[in-house]
């Protein structure tokens, strides 16, 4: 087969090529958006189990009235999880038990 040297692309064509490549990449990224493709961004943290739980009276000493909490009622038991204690990767999930059920407090 005869060898034909490939002509260098003129400058506008190189730009077009770049545009096409970017468009193709964007399509690939878009198509994979629905796939589960997690990225490791920090190290894993140990599970928090048996967290310390106190009464409302004790809690009132260190939780301000205007702080946000995540509240849940199960059976006859009610519990509040201050959002300021459930923030940052070390603390995002609390494995707990309430009203006889195993729950994960997270938001």
């Amino acid at each position: 087969m005869e060898y034909l040297p490939r002509p260098a692309l003129p400058l506008p064509m190189k730009w077009e090529l770049l545009v096409y490549t970017l468009a193709a990449l964007a399509l690939i990224v878009h198509a994979s958006a629905e796939e589960f493709n997690p990225r490791q961004v920090v190290k894993a943290f140990d599970a928090i189990t048996s967290p310390e739980i106190v009464s409302a009276e004790q809690g009132a000493k260190f939780v301000r009235d205007d702080e946000l909490i995540l509240g849940v009622v199960l059976g006859k038991e009610a519990r509040a999880y201050p959002i300021n204690m459930l923030t940052n990767p070390t603390r995002e999930i609390i494995n707990d038990k309430l009203g006889g059920r195993a729950i994960a407090a997270t938001w």
């Binding site: 990225r39 943290f45 106190v54 300021n84 990767p89 195993a102």
Partner: protein
């Protein structure tokens, strides 16, 4: 807020250190499966496809909560942040109240700004009638099925923490969904799980769900 018993097995979750769609990925210690935090669904591993039962968690202030639940207990760990107090509600543009209608159903949401202004928002989405309410300044918010025994109910804001059903003029509690006065006295609306979420996160996870602005 999730129940962490799946197929009769109690799971313990921890932070995997991974993010998906800029949101937390959890891992269970027992099987090592990975779970999307916002979807409550296992995405990879032995339990792939399994879903966690969503429990009815309420976001409100500590003062409001302990007033309503005298016997409440509270988590007693150290603080990892200080910024989450009532002031958060003063930037309602960043938040929506999203309603969970179950897996596979587009989840509607109400812009927190609208909810704060109107207190009672009737939503028609995914073939369901829902009423989303909040008692004061966006906290706490809750969602109810706004139909009883096949009759669709439409609500508007009433005095104090009440809403009024338009056809019958009956009075209902905003927070409990219980009719206290009128033709439907004693009837109770079925609660839907919902959550206050950052608008940006909600849109990434439920792009097909409608947001009532």
């Amino acid at each position: 807020m999730y129940a962490r018993t799946v197929k009769n097995q109690e799971l313990n979750f921890h932070v995997s250190g991974m993010l998906w769609k800029r949101s937390l990925v959890m891992r269970d210690v027992e099987t090592g499966s990975l779970w999307s935090h916002l979807l409550g669904k296992s995405m990879r591993g032995k339990l792939k496809g399994a879903e966690l039962e969503i429990l009815d968690g309420v976001m409100t202030t500590w003062g409001e909560w302990k007033g309503r639940h005298r016997e409440t207990t509270v988590l007693g760990m150290s603080r990892t942040a200080r910024r989450f107090d009532e002031q958060v509600w003063s930037k309602p543009g960043r938040f929506v109240y999203g309603v969970h209608l179950g897996a596979g159903t587009p989840s509607p949401a109400v812009a927190l700004k609208k909810l704060q202004a109107e207190r009672v928002v009737n939503v028609e989405a995914a073939g369901k009638r829902i009423v989303v309410t909040c008692s004061k300044s966006g906290s706490p918010a809750q969602a109810f099925e706004s139909a009883i025994e096949g009759t669709v109910l439409k609500f508007r804001q009433g005095p104090e923490n009440m809403m009024v059903e338009e056809a019958t003029g009956s009075s209902w509690s905003l927070t409990e969904g219980l009719c206290s006065e009128g033709k439907m006295k004693g009837k109770r609306l079925t609660r839907h799980s919902g959550t206050i979420s950052y608008r940006a996160a909600w849109v990434r996870f439920f792009p097909e769900g409608k947001i009532v602005e």
